[in-house]
């Protein structure tokens, strides 16, 4: 066994640990929030405790799925078969795919706890709307999972792409950057999307007639909230599939690629949460004043576009780092 094979095995274990460790944070917080709201709901209206309990379990099951993605990736990494022709790229592939899935599961896990909690409280407040609330919660939390699914896609492509014909020097950093861009980028959007779904579930309980509008505006708000996570995925794809010139022993090109990933990843967190706030409030106020739906939706979209501009700055800087520097 040579030196690099040993490090690749080490990286596979570390990557698996990071994937499951980080991946467990979000789902646990989200599920705890759902359970706390369920308690509040039951104390307010004990007659429907059975309904609330069921809603809580269904919501927690969806919130758990981000952690299950992380579990699958962690399992594949821990039992990964390190071939004889491992290189430093193999080492970063294992680390990067673990980090990507682990970080990517945080936001979606916490986020999908919010609609679950709101649906529990809504069921206590408006027991007749129980079925509609569960449907709305399921749609909202399924869309919340999207950033985690993006991280999963990137993490799988990293694991199963053959990088061996690429030059080792800048590619190892591109691989690491790709994982970080999608992983970090998913945090904000997952969380933000959860806030929107929470407002929508509250709104359905507050004003059941507006349920259709509330679901539609929620989907729109969540879709725009995910935009920066998609920029993260775009940067990851460029980093994974672009062929880079060999860089010899200089470190600068490699660092530019790594920073491109970090720049897009961290830059996507803020807009994700911010756009979530914008859409949360728009959906919340539509539930109070349905007549103003058109104005509120327009304000939401414009506000989100402005909040997103910092994410676009990050994208521009990341693309400059990849293509120009």
């Amino acid at each position: 066994m040579n030196d690099i094979t040993m490090w690749a095995e080490v990286a596979a274990f570390v990557g698996g640990g990071l994937a499951m460790g980080f991946g467990a944070i979000g789902a646990a917080v989200g599920e705890g929030y759902a359970a706390a709201s369920a308690n509040a709901a039951i104390s307010r209206n004990p007659e429907v405790s059975g309904e609330v309990f069921k809603t809580m379990l269904v919501g927690q099951a969806v919130a758990e799925s981000a952690a299950i993605f992380a579990l699958v990736v962690a399992m594949l990494l821990v039992f990964a078969n390190v071939g004889e022709n491992a290189s430093w790229m193999t080492v970063t592939v294992f680390l990067s795919s673990g980090l990507c899935m682990g970080l990517g599961a945080i936001g979606s896990g916490v986020g999908s706890g919010f609609p679950a909690g709101a649906a529990c409280e809504g069921t206590a407040r408006q027991p007749a709307m129980g079925g509609r609330l569960v449907t709305n919660m399921l749609i909202g939390s399924a869309v919340c999972q999207t950033p985690a699914i993006f991280a999963l896609v990137v993490s799988f492509i990293l694991m199963f792409t053959n990088f061996s014909d690429r030059p080792v020097n800048p590619t190892w950093a591109a691989i690491l950057g790709a994982g970080l861009a999608s992983g970090l980028g998913a945090i904000g959007s997952g969380l933000g999307g959860g806030l929107v779904a929470q407002a929508s579930c509250e709104g359905v309980a507050r004003k059941p007639e507006a349920a259709g509008t509330l679901t539609n505006v929620m989907l729109l708000g969540q879709a725009v909230t995910q935009t920066t996570a998609i920029y993260g995925m775009l940067v990851s794809f460029i980093l994974m599939f672009k062929a880079f010139d060999p860089a010899g022993t200089t470190l600068a090109p490699a660092m530019a690629l790594l920073s491109a990933g970090i720049c897009m990843g961290i830059g996507a967190i803020g807009p994700g949460v911010g756009e979530g706030f914008a859409a949360q409030s728009a959906v919340g106020w539509i539930a109070r004043n349905e007549n103003a739906t058109a104005e509120l939706t327009r304000t939401m979209l414009v506000g989100q576009a402005v909040a997103e501009s910092t994410g676009i700055y990050a994208l521009v800087v990341a693309l400059v780092l990849i293509f120009v520097v």
Binding site: A142, F150, L152, F156, N216, A223, T227, I230, Y231
Partner: protein, 212 residues
């Protein structure tokens, strides 16, 4: 230039299914509708309402058929992965799993939205949007506009691709016992429907942002 024959074949299967559905739905029209007609009317009614809400009455009528066709195509495409193997086709796969399909549809929506904007507002008002609030925001506004195409197509692609990866890997890890049908239900049918709807709604909103 290379062609992905599988995607083209799957796209034609989707078109075939939709055409067949269309013919069956209108074959024996009547005041007392047959089941196919009911389903068809349900789709048309709800999707036209969606277009009307976003685009006002007049434009809604104009773009309604496009919105309707877009949703039906995307929805059928996303459902295709759930079908079991059939006769001479060993395996169905979603055409939306290949980035080219969402990207093509995203570009289509982009061009329709901008053409609608120029037509409704006139070229001067259309161009003015790009130098607001300041003239030096022009490059960022342009990037923001192009990023819409990227975000709408990557969202669909990522979701469908992620769903099929999860189904494949978990089925493999559990030796296809118990879990796969539930996963097909969630990722295939549920997420597929939501994402088809989200794509359609975003296209509608992009048009409505341009014309207002």
């Amino acid at each position: 230039m290379t062609f992905n024959l599988e995607v083209i074949l799957m796209t034609w299967i989707v078109i075939g299914i939709l055409l067949l559905f269309g013919f069956l739905a209108v074959k024996k029209r009547g005041v007392i509708p047959n089941p196919m007609q009911v389903v068809g009317e349900l789709f048309v009614k709800n999707l036209y309402d969606l277009a009307d809400d976003a685009l006002e009455e007049e434009l809604g009528k104009k773009y309604g058929p496009m919105i309707c066709a877009l949703f039906l195509f995307l929805w059928m495409s996303n459902m295709l992965g759930v079908l079991p193997p059939l006769g001479f086709i060993p395996e169905f796969s979603e055409p939306t799993k290949d980035l080219n399909t969402p990207l093509g549809l995203g570009l289509m929506g982009f061009f329709i939205a901008h053409a609608a904007g120029i037509k409704e507002k006139g070229i001067k008002d259309y161009l003015k949007v790009y130098i607001e609030p300041f003239a030096f925001m022009l490059p960022l506004n342009l990037i923001g506009e192009l990023a819409k195409v990227v975000s709408i197509s990557f969202r669909l692609f990522g979701n469908i691709m992620g769903g099929s990866i999860i189904i494949l890997v978990v089925s493999h890890l559990t030796y296809s016992i118990l879990l796969p049908p539930a996963l097909f239900g969630f990722f295939g049918i549920f997420v597929g429907t939501i994402q088809a709807f989200v794509f359609t709604m975003l296209t509608t909103v992009y048009i409505s942002v341009q014309v207002k």
